[in-house]
Structures are given as C-alpha cells and as structure tokens.
C-alpha cells in the first residue's frame, strides 16, 4: 500500500511483482500549448525555486536557450527555434522536459528496483534513494530527458511536482505560467481543452494544428498543442514519432529471459552430462604410458 493515498503505484522499475492495482485514480496531464508560449521562462524559474535546484550560471551562447540543455539541476528548459518559411517567420518556443510517457522507456531500462516508478495518475517519478546512477534511463528515454548528476551520480528529471500533485496542487511550472501555455488537470480535460485550442489555431490559419500525444510511447502525460503538428521535429527536434528504441526493447525485452535460460541450460547440460557420462578420468593405462614416455626420458 502506498503511504500517500493520492499516489498509488502502477509500475515500478526492475520489479518482478506488480504493485497493488485495486484502486483506480484519475490520470493527470500537463498540456503545453506552444501557440500560447511566450518563452518567458517562468516555468524554468518556478521549477528551480520549488525544487530547490541550484543550476550553475552559464554564458551567452548565441541563443536564448539558457541553460542550453537539460541538466541534473534544470529539469525543464525552453528551446527556441527560428522557423522561416518564405517571407514569414515564426519563433517556435517549446518547453522541454519529461513527457511522463504512459509506456516509459526510462522505467523499462532501469535495472534498479523501485528507482523509477509510475503512479496510477500517470506521473513517472525517479526515486533517488534507489537510483544507482547507471544511466540506463538515459538510454531508455525516447526524448533524451534524464540527466545524471556529477555530484551524487543519481538521475534527475521533472517529477511533474509529484509532491505538489500528491497534496492536490498543480505543478509549480503550470501554476506559474503567465499565459496558460501550461495547463494542468485530468488527462481527459486536457485533451478536451486541446481540441478547442486546435479549432482556434485552425481558424487563425494553422491548418496542421494538433495535439501531440504520441502513441508510440502509449501517449504521454505531458502533451503539446502544436501549430505544426504534422512536423513536430520543427520544435527543436521534438521526435516525430517517438518510441522506445528497438535496441532498448531487445536489451530489456527478450534478451533477459533468453539469456538467463541459456545460462541455466548450460548449467543443466553440464550437470546432466556429468551424471550421465561421469567424470573424465585418466586411466591407469594412460598413467603408465605417460610415465613411460617421461621415464624414458628421465632415466
């Protein structure tokens, strides 16, 4: 049983037993409406402040992206893209961070029991206590989100403010967002809201506006409204069709049982061989012949 009533566990990394599943709770989601985002970085500031993160101060690197990438202390960053088509210019600004996949690659890849959990509300959370710092989550993630701290060798990423959601509050970034470019609620409500937004965007000439809730990872609990939903990669490389890498699937899928089976088979084969054939022993005759050969030499 979960100690916090509002957060039951649905999945747990590297665990052979399924957590209790008797209760059902609503799934939550964060909807990031890129068409409303002004790139003010309030979400970044709120995230740093709420989570008591101390990101190092960098330099100007030729872009408004600061820090230039996610780090163990920056769980969300704004990615700015200047998209020119013909005479028109669009400044696409995407808040990057954990997507809280329904089928989380990080959790699949994680070898440490309970280091990554997925709550029944959809939040995928890293449990630092159990993290061993192997970086497999990084390899498992189709969105390149987790970062390993150089200080404590533990993996970090957006928690969707599980501590706030657990007590019925919205994540810090969502609460802060000045323009409701980040909206938080039940996943069903967010999808309904997104549909309205898409209608509005289409009326403003964005024919390909749409919701980004990629089925390749079972859908996500962080979704985007995009003006160009036909080309997600325009938005600083948002994957067009993300899925858990087939290599990770192989590694964390069939390979595990087959490997163990092969090892077990080798052991069992040896055991059976031994008990059926008996030990391979040197016979008296061989011993004698050996002595003869050596003796001939020696004497």
């Amino acid at each position: 049983m979960a100690t916090l009533q509002s957060l039951d566990i649905r999945r747990r990394s590297a665990s052979t037993e399924a957590p209790p599943q008797i209760r059902s709770t609503i799934e939550v989601a964060k909807l990031i409406d890129v068409s409303k985002c002004i790139g003010c970085k309030a979400c970044q500031a709120a995230c740093l402040e709420w989570n008591d993160l101390k990101q190092e101060i960098g330099y100007f690197e030729g872009t408004y992206d600061n820090p230039t990438d996610l780090t163990p202390a920056s769980w969300t960053v704004m990615r700015f893209t200047e998209y020119e088509h013909g005479d028109d210019l669009e400044w696409l600004i995407r808040k990057d961070g954990c997507m809280h996949c329904d089928d989380p690659g990080c959790l699949t890849a994680c070898p440490a029991p309970g280091a990554i959990v997925q709550y029944t509300n959809g939040i995928v959370d890293f449990v630092s206590e159990n993290c061993i710092g192997c970086g497999y989550c990084v390899k498992g993630c189709p969105f390149n989100i987790p970062r390993i701290s150089k200080v404590d060798r533990k993996a970090y990423k957006c928690t969707l403010c599980s501590d706030r959601v657990a007590v019925g509050q919205a994540p810090a970034c969502a609460k802060a967002c000045p323009t409701q470019a980040i909206y938080f609620g039940s996943k069903a409500d967010m999808i309904a809201h997104a549909e309205n937004r898409v209608v509005d965007l289409k009326s403003r000439g964005f024919k390909n506006a749409g919701l980004y809730d990629p089925p390749g990872v079972g859908g996500t609990h962080v979704m985007y409204v995009l003006h160009h939903a036909d080309k997600p990669s325009l938005y600083a490389g948002l994957p067009d069709d993300p899925e858990i890498s087939p290599m990770v699937g192989l590694w964390k899928g069939v390979m595990k049982p087959i490997s163990l089976a092969a090892i077990a088979f080798a052991g069992v084969f040896g055991f059976l061989h031994y008990i059926t054939k008996g030990p391979n022993e040197v016979s008296e005759a061989d011993q004698r012949k050996g002595d003869d050969l050596a003796g001939g030499k020696h004497s």
Binding site: T3, R12, P19, A42, A45, L48, S162
Partner: protein
C-alpha cells in the same frame, strides 16, 4: 489507539524484518513511494500575502516562511508563489516573480550601513547612528550654504538646487508619501524617480 509495549515490540520486529528484506532488494512499493515523493514543504509554513516587487502588474504573491511567528521562531522566507485570488495574475508569476525568493536571499543584499571616505578604495561598516548623523549634518551644511530664498527678480522661491534626490518607484505608497514630505520640505527641486526614465 494506545500502543502497548508488547505491540510496539512486535511492530518493531516486523519493521526490522521488513528492513532486512529491503536490504535484499525486495523493497515494498510503499517504501519506494515514501522515499520518492518529497514531503510537501509548505504544509505548516506561514503564508503571508504580498505583492511582487518588480513590474507594475504588481502580481499578488503568497510568501511562505519558516516558523509560525511564535516567539522563539525566527521567520525566514522559504518560498514564493502566485496568489490565486489576485484578479490580475490569478496565481501565475513570470520568471522574475517566480525567482524572487532569490532576491530576498541574494548574497548581494545590503546588511549594514557602510561608509566610503573620499579617495579610499573600500567601504567601512558604520553604525546607523553615525550614518544618519553624518547625513543630516551634510544636508544642513549644504542647504544652509546654497539655499535660494529669492530669485533675481526678488520672488520668494525657497529652493535648494545643490542637492538632489532620486527616489525609488518600488517604495510603498506610504514610504513614497513620507519621502515626498521629507524632500519637499527641504526645498529640493532635483527630485525624481524612475517614472521619468
């Protein structure tokens, strides 16, 4: 429910067993959750309503501080977030407001009156009393020397031009009003704030 000593022992033993099992890698889901989710840090923090210090939207903020304002707890601000009731910001904050905790606790906050003597290369800490006495003296000296009671045409003008006062547009109205009274009463005309620049 009262826990008897025997029950307590049993509970402890079970706890011990559980922790041993945990050590072998069979951590219970609940334990993982308890370890994973940070406790909500504002649960009993004191909430104070204030306004963001930066731009003129003047967003409502909730300031959370350590301690319950009891005699032996020194309040220290631990978190700031938007006031959901405030009609303008409705709980939201921008990158400045959301990071304003860092302003309150900035290492560059001034803590003590400081004095730099002419031609030196450092500030020296002084007492408030020294600082205020010195300022009052400097003001009076300059005012008495350079006060203009009448202009060339003999019109009473009662102005003091050799000292100026730049006020801050982030003062409260009350501080601003008292500043106005203080400065105007001296006859200073070089009296400005950010409203113009």
């Amino acid at each position: 429910m009262a826990v008897t000593r025997r029950q307590f022992m049993t509970v402890s033993a079970a706890g011990l067993a559980a922790s041993s099992v945990g050590a072998l890698g069979f951590v219970g889901a609940g334990d993982a959750l308890a370890a994973g989710v940070r406790p909500f840090k504002l649960e009993r923090a004191t909430e104070t309503r204030n306004a963001c210090p930066y731009c003129a939207v003047a967003c409502g903020v909730l300031v959370y501080s350590l301690g319950d304002k009891s005699k032996n707890a020194k309040s220290s601000i631990i978190h700031v977030e938007g006031d959901p009731d405030h009609p303008v910001n409705r709980g939201t904050l921008c990158a400045r407001g959301a990071a304003s905790l860092g302003y309150i606790h900035s290492a560059n906050r001034l803590k003590y009156p400081m004095h730099r003597k002419p031609g030196t290369d450092k500030f020296e800490r002084v007492s408030w009393d020294f600082a205020m006495e010195r300022i009052a003296k400097l003001m009076k000296e300059d005012r008495d020397k350079n006060f203009i009671a009448k202009n060339r045409d003999g019109v009473t003008v009662n102005r003091w031009l050799s000292t100026g006062f730049f006020g801050g547009s982030s003062l409260s109205n009350e501080a601003g009003y008292l500043t106005y009274k203080f400065v105007r009463s001296t006859g200073i005309l070089g009296f400005e704030d950010q409203a113009r620049i």
